[in-house]
Symmetry: C2
Subunit: 591 residues, 2 copies
Amino acid sequence: MPSYKAPLRDMRFLLNEFTDPARLRSLPGCEELGPDLVDPILDEAATLCEEVLFPINRSGDEEGCTIENGVVRTPQGFREAWAQFRDGGWPSLACDPDYGGQGLPKSIALLFEEMICSANLSFGMYPGLSHGAYAALLKHGAQVLRDTYLPKLVSGEWMGTMCLTEPQCGTDLGLIGTRAIPADDGSHRITGSKIFISAGEHDLSENILHLVLAKLPDAPPGTRGISLFLVPKFLPTPDGKPGARNGVLCTAIEHKMGIKASATCALSFEEAKGWLVGRPHKGLSAMFTMMNEARLSVGVQGLGLAEVSYQNALAYARDRVQGRALNGAAAPDQPADPIIHHPDVRRMLLSMRAEIEGCRALAMWVAQEQDVATRHADPATRDAAEDFVALMTPIIKAYFTDMGWDATATGMQVFGGHGYIREHGMEQYVRDARIAQLYEGTNGIQALDLVGRKMGAHAGRYLRRFFHPVLAYVEAKSEDERLGEFVLPLSKAFGRLQQATAELARRGLSDPYEAGAGATDYLKLFGLTALAFVWTRMAEIALAKEGEDPTGFYRAKLATARFFMARILPRSGAHLAAVMAGGATLREIEF
Amino acid sequence: MPSYKAPLRDMRFLLNEFTDPARLRSLPGCEELGPDLVDPILDEAATLCEEVLFPINRSGDEEGCTIENGVVRTPQGFREAWAQFRDGGWPSLACDPDYGGQGLPKSIALLFEEMICSANLSFGMYPGLSHGAYAALLKHGAQVLRDTYLPKLVSGEWMGTMCLTEPQCGTDLGLIGTRAIPADDGSHRITGSKIFISAGEHDLSENILHLVLAKLPDAPPGTRGISLFLVPKFLPTPDGKPGARNGVLCTAIEHKMGIKASATCALSFEEAKGWLVGRPHKGLSAMFTMMNEARLSVGVQGLGLAEVSYQNALAYARDRVQGRALNGAAAPDQPADPIIHHPDVRRMLLSMRAEIEGCRALAMWVAQEQDVATRHADPATRDAAEDFVALMTPIIKAYFTDMGWDATATGMQVFGGHGYIREHGMEQYVRDARIAQLYEGTNGIQALDLVGRKMGAHAGRYLRRFFHPVLAYVEAKSEDERLGEFVLPLSKAFGRLQQATAELARRGLSDPYEAGAGATDYLKLFGLTALAFVWTRMAEIALAKEGEDPTGFYRAKLATARFFMARILPRSGAHLAAVMAGGATLREIEF
């Protein structure tokens, strides 16, 4: 059976040493966020994930959700776990204090999210979707909607969903067929079919609040004619209880490759009562404010699954004896050596570790900027941070989830044939990780977002939020001899990224097909360069502390950084070549 | 629901144009193998796979195998399908005519194998294991064993297994604990526990012949003390019927990520009656003759699954409309354009196609050399061919199965979120593909085989069987202007392979850890270079026939070759860099 311990040491390193703790504490509402306050929160979060959520992960996968006459049941133990989660106040962690939230910043919440994803991704889908609904309602809902519903979402009494996809449209939301007809009382009647609705129906909460994309009768065609509506499963009574059943029914749940304990529902809306959220026809941009945050969270799903897979692969590699080390017996008293002594097994473990720790650092950087973007007193500082987050969001979503897929598959590989057997739990991580590359916009769509919406926008303003700090750092450290082994490959990769950017910008300007042709490889190149940057910065810290290092933490950071530079970063060359090849080889073939 | 059509056009191209048909027909027993004879066989094979095996693939995955009191049942339809397979004479296709076989060469059989893997990998496991048992018995069994058992295996009346793995040993067979005690009648009594035995117990045939690795009482320690035994489930009566039950029991079947319709059994041998196959203590090398053929077949599993995934991804991309093409509407009469017009979707499809067609060509090259190795009149020619097959076997096993994993995941990605839903069938291909990277020696073990056993052996003799023809080809074509766009990247990759070889040979000679540290990346680099070679040769043929090409087959070959060179082959640089980085970054970390 697998095990999981939250990687608190690495998380605290990032929080207290890698990101700028003073910068976080300079933000309104974050003044007190030192280790004294944060450490116990992380400890409690870890305990909840390790002891409550993790033990029902495998059983949840085996059992799955069930549906009977429209009633969906989560697997055994999920109701109880949710009750503990709710009663512990965890849904409110990063919510607005005006509605009962604890007001913690993303920098902290993200670490908790990672732990949840490691412990039980299926479970995490339920509060994850609720938080998305909370965010959309908070930002775009009318005051009366906010007052009625937000306290319920924040307390976890009620939960939420995001209803976008329909059978004929996923990526292309302009094709939405769900209709909203205005009623006399200012509400609307919603009719249509939605599919792939995570947490669309379940037995965890007494009410479910659906945020539904639909078209008004006078809607302009395409994506400019989509509106957002709040449709509760039960209409609230004046005293805030679930009242009459609304016209929304779960007609089926999907049978999926993974996240089987997450109910993925087909919902039928039949003249359901709903309330407009935000302005008419502006639903897509309202939905996107929560999509962007959701995309960061989906990236973290890849990270969390990679982490738990790594932990178990490492434990197995220490424990399993098979063959002798290539330079002579490492455990002569045993019939064979632990496989961790074999270089190819170490390669696999280090591949996982270098990506995981790099991605976690990158995520923390972006999370802190998100906190700056939402909380900083200075508007220009907020805007700059928001640019950066906007730029990095598709990279985190796609790079992290591809990484999660590769890393969980690698973790499975460390187990040999035993990795293929369900009871070891390693293959579940792979199956669960697969969805993250597909939902919240496929990874191909993320790449198009990067090259189509972020790269060229505002004369490259988004790009500069990444390029300038990297350039400044490389220049500042160019004389630092000890850091040279990291700065050199970083600047080489950065040069490749600059070259790819220039080429894509040049060609893509006249021909969007060319931008699309290089998009995925460009995103990978960008992700690798960003990891090289955070690894170099982590190496800088580690070099300074290597001397006073009783636990070996900083030495391991340096070793992992070196592995990343030597054996992962060179992939940037292949991605550059693919970008430079352009669209010709894609156009030529007639399938 | 997915569909499958055997890629007969490409198969015939390889058989009749890419490999040397005259060379095949020069081999004893192959004189008649022209299109007149082969085409109908391939057509019939395709029909069987498309119409009998494919329709029970999804249902087999959903239903799985069951066990009750040691009795294992295959999913619905498998017994009937096996009866058709058997009665059609398919088990005998590539078997020795002396025992009832049709004596067809590997070059033909391999194509059939690919079709089976595309149609129903789980089903294919049963005849696949039987054929392995047949091969070991044919080569190493005493005449009386061959006479008794081979006709039964060839006819498909009885089936076979390979019993290697035990709980404490997979890779490291030196740790085997199963014992064989000589009996007075010349047979042995086998006692021990085996796990992961594919087709170890089932309801397809009236008898099952286990080929079991075990240790004799006087066995030397480690892998030099392993012997091979034939242990039938039912002891044959004098008239060749299944007689008394032997002491072998199925105690459990595994619950796995995929190939769920293949029964993966834990077998308990309790004083089971068995007969020595081959010489005492030489069982491992006897087993390896069938392992090597099995490794080629496992490589083809990756290929077959990639092919069926590609076909369905292509069909979906043509059918699914979503968004508009980046250069203006491609289907203005529809609400959106088929996604095949999107460059990133084309990138995914071409990535699959370029790997699949390249791997198929490489497999056919190796298969023909295998036929030469077993059939050619001249011993030196046989030896040279055998060297080549030995060299390429680990590359085919590991590169093809990694490719199968990546390609099936890519095929799933083309479906977006729908790929994650079981009913579309795409995620089953991914789950089924995963096992091929693990069994018959993990892919890491394949890489160690390549650098440890093949690279340096006989002063590089194995390597020369690949290096010399590539070098000769590149030199011969260096003046060919039209072919230059392919020869140039080929020679660049080949240069990288030579550099990596020299470096690994130099470092690995003094330190096997260094060879192990670069093994996996070296294998990938080798595989990419081999694909570049076969793609260049295919491009050469296509260039010559491009003019007389009503179907566009040769133009598509050229377009795919160009894609391979521009967008896949550059990965060779990253693998070279990883090889050159050496073992330092693997040794440094203390986990």
